[in-house]
């Protein structure tokens, strides 16, 4: 390594243990608090028992937390090196479950990891952001502004997008595209491009409508007017709004939610767990949880400002935007602001996929934070 990196190598001498102690423990604590809110709500949904959901969720979280901490202390240059291979692996897995899974595995879209089931589409969310960040890491400001350098990122983005849309998993597809576009935007692509694309997408909505499946159209129509279908999909939104609204300022009390405990709410342990939380803890409880998400996600978004390598900056911000979208879609959905698209609330909803995505992403974000003083050569780290 040359003298240009004279501060880098010295700092890299930090041991794993030093890096571990240097982690942002405030963010780890906020993450644990959000997950704990999830345990409490799963305990409530099961009518005051740890079985069957809260206990399993705790085991999952413990494993995911360990994975997050391991990722956080691994040298960021490893992640630069695995960015493209991870993307390829993700695409292969998507193919595997899409093509092979449909025929050979009875249509399943997940891989069984033993302690949880992993959807490749979740991994692809992270891998896409990593790959695009890796691409722009090697591009100068001038290069980043040219339209020619958009070809590779768009391919990195559209291939997984197309595969996920085919599933069809609109929520995940939306998150992949948003995360990718956010990285391209932050990397410095011309601003007019986004304005024009925005107009273009709006104009294309009527055309895209034609390609939606009937149930997807139903969901959107029901979202527009929930009362039109008070017993079908509109029932879910209506009941969720009743639960949210009836919680009032301070809620009905832990284990006292009537909409949830009397089963008026749908999908309580997964998509509508935020509703259960607000019914029992009210606007105050909701504000605390949303504030925790806000703190953690804003940290992720802004950590790059103090980072000395473009890869880390783009990776952290891109992942934070992706995760923010999770929260926004889920909470907007249960409030009747967005159509019901089946996106869980990460860390709180029951289930492993969203939690693992969140923890892997935050492992990387923490890693970016830990290695914020590290500079990396445009061509890569040279570690591998």
């Amino acid at each position: 390594m040359g003298t240009a990196h004279m501060f880098g190598p010295r700092r890299l001498q930090k041991s794993v243990w030093q890096r571990f102690l240097g982690l942002n423990w405030g963010i780890v604590l906020a993450t644990v608090m959000l997950a704990s809110a999830g345990f409490a709500m799963l305990y409530s949904v099961a009518d005051g028992t740890w079985d069957p959901w809260a206990s399993r969720q705790m085991v999952r979280f413990a494993i995911a937390l360990a994975i997050m901490l391991i990722i956080a202390v691994i040298d960021i240059r490893y992640w630069v090196a695995v960015a493209y291979p991870a993307w390829f692996a993700g695409i292969l897995l998507l193919f595997a479950v899409e093509v092979v899974g449909d025929t050979g595995m009875g249509g399943q879209r997940w891989l069984d990891l033993g302690f949880m089931r992993l959807q490749p589409s979740e991994l692809v969310k992270i891998a896409t952001v990593m790959a695009i960040a890796r691409y722009f890491h090697g591009r100068s400001q001038i290069q980043s502004r040219s339209l020619r350098s958009l070809i590779v990122p768009l391919l990195l983005l559209l291939i997984p997008f197309a595969l996920v849309v085919r599933q069809p998993d609109l929520g995940t597809a939306l998150m992949i595209i948003t995360g990718g576009v956010a990285v391209i935007f932050l990397a410095g692509a011309p601003a007019w491009l986004f304005v024009v694309s925005g107009i273009g997408v709006t104009a294309a909505i009527p055309i895209a409508w034609q390609f939606l499946r009937p149930y997807q159209k139903d969901r959107i129509l029901t979202f527009m007017n929930p009362e039109s279908d008070p017993l079908g999909a509109g029932y879910q939104i209506t009941q969720s709004k009743i639960a949210l609204g009836s919680g009032g300022m301070t809620g009905k009390g832990f284990l006292e939610g009537t909409q949830s405990h009397l089963n008026f709410l749908p999908e309580m342990k997964t998509d509508f767990i935020f509703t259960v939380l607000v019914e029992e803890f009210g606007l105050v409880g909701a504000a605390i949880v949303l504030a925790l998400y806000g703190i953690v996600l804003t940290y992720g978004l802004l950590i790059g400002i103090g980072c000395r390598n473009q890869f880390g900056r783009l990776l952290a911000s891109g992942l934070a935007v992706t995760l923010f979208l999770y929260v926004l879609i889920n909470v907007g959905m249960v409030m009747g602001l967005l159509p019901v698209v089946g996106v869980p609330l990460p860390l709180i909803s029951y289930g492993g996929s969203a939690m693992l995505t969140w923890m892997l992403a935050y492992g990387l974000i923490l890693s970016v934070s830990t290695h914020r003083h590290v500079t990396i050569a445009p061509k890569g780290s040279g570690i591998i």
């Binding site: 709004k241 949210l244 919680g247 607000v278 606007l283 909701a286 978004l301 923010f324």
Partner: protein, 609 residues
Amino acid sequence: MPREGLRYQTYSRRTLLLAGLQGLALAALGARLYYLSVVNGEKYRLRADKNRISIRLIAPERGEIFDRNGEKLATNTQDLRVLLVPEQADQLQPTLKKVQQIIDLDDRGLSRIERRIRRQRKFVPVTLAQGLDWETFSRLNVEIPRLPGVQTDAGLSRLYPGGEAIAHLVGYLAGPDEEDVVKSPLYQLPGFKIGRQGLERRYESTLRGASGTRRVEVNSVGREIRELPPREEALRGSDLHLTLDMRLQQYVMQELGEEAAGVVVLDIATGDILTMASSPGYDPNEFTRGISNANWQALLKDPRAPLLNKSVSGQYPPGSTIKMVVALAALEQGLISPDTTHYCNGKHRLGNHTFHCWQNRGHGKVDLMQAIAKSCDVYFYELAEKLDIDLIADMARRFGMGAVFDVGIDGEKEGLVPTREWKRIFQQQSWQLGETLNVAIGQGAMLATPLQLAVMTARLASGQQITPRIVHKNGDEPVFHQPLDVNPFHLETVKRTMEMVMEQGGTAHDYSRRKSAPRLAGKTGTAQVRRITLEERAGEGGVLDNSELPWQSRDHALFVGYAPAENPRYAVSVVVQHGGGGSSVAAPLARRFLDKTLELNTTQTEEQA
């Protein structure tokens, strides 16, 4: 690093822009939540309550029916039942098998229960058995911890301890009809029953009471989770107190046995109906439980008409029991004096038709006393020739014939008091004198119910317009009856003749009766239900005896009477359908009923005792 600096600047600017957008989005979510839970919180709270709170009715406990001595005629008993909530049972088959070892449940019943379980929602309890005895019930309760989903339950069901003896009076309960269900939300309660016959129907609104309400929390599929205060208790129905003496009623029914008969016993002073019996009876409990089709068909097809309340709905020719009324009509008109005599040779000619006395060989020379004591028909033919039918009808009405007293029992019939006008309107013919002769001996068109005959007797005995009643309306308020518009001297004369009926030579004389026994007064009647042809009368054996006839052609046996003769307190009427002769069948029964009534001394007040 100028290049790096430029990239960094763009990145920082745009990151802050995104952070701002994120902040805005979070604020929008917060605002939306504020709008839902604070601005519209009240509205959603109400909707949440509407979701979860359901108002349910509480069925009132039905009022009981008592006889005059406080004996229960209709009551509510604990119905011990065992229920199964299918969703709470781990395994249905083994649970049912275990229950089957305790309760009496055959395989057919078991498959019926299994069908029910499949049909209805899993949280709705299915009745496995009801009407359990305490022993079985306790054994079940011991086993219940090992039988998930099985519950025991004590509800109320109607019980008529008197059974057959009072079926016609109290009636029975049954579930509301399909079309009735909309009339009251109470009718939708499972197991709710309403009065279908008798007093149960007539006094439905009194007995029922008022329903209460309770608020229950229900879940999204309507299952009850728990009850929420406040609870408005149901108002128990009012009790019904009858004038009936159940001991006498039971005795009468027992004595009537298998006969098709109607009997009414009245307390003359008050008009209280002490007994109103109709035989054969039926078990009202069977109806309340739900009668089987086979048993129902058997009741319908029985020629003795068990379902008919013969005391008020049975209309019979009064036979010779009408003769006191005819005699009074003649006395009041001054047509006869008690000493007026006629000669009876067994027949009486009117135009070219011969009217026969029941006594073929005739009674010889008879005065009014003997004419009633021996029930001479010819004497009354003579009277009838001089009496207008409307005069007889007028006198009959004064004694309660043709009247509906509306005592509170369904199906009270008015009988028939024929008049000239009636004949003109209903048969478009003018009245014939021969018809008056028939009416004068109680054959003809005249019809009376046992209740009317008892009222007639009570009025004869008291000279007052006795009105019968079966429900105590205002406790023990004294009852005043208007005197009858009949010369008391004439009434006394007729009462003497009724005493003579029971004496030696009278049609209802009992040789075995002890001298010390209370003296009775009465009148026999035999109502012919077939036409006796000239050929039969002229034939070798003469008029066929009742025992030679099929049941449906036999005479009705009647008796009316009162006791004690010198100080009348109780009046009785007995009609035994196709029973045979009044003196041989009805009179002995009536004597026993009157003696029993006197023995029970039911209406005597404590001061008198």
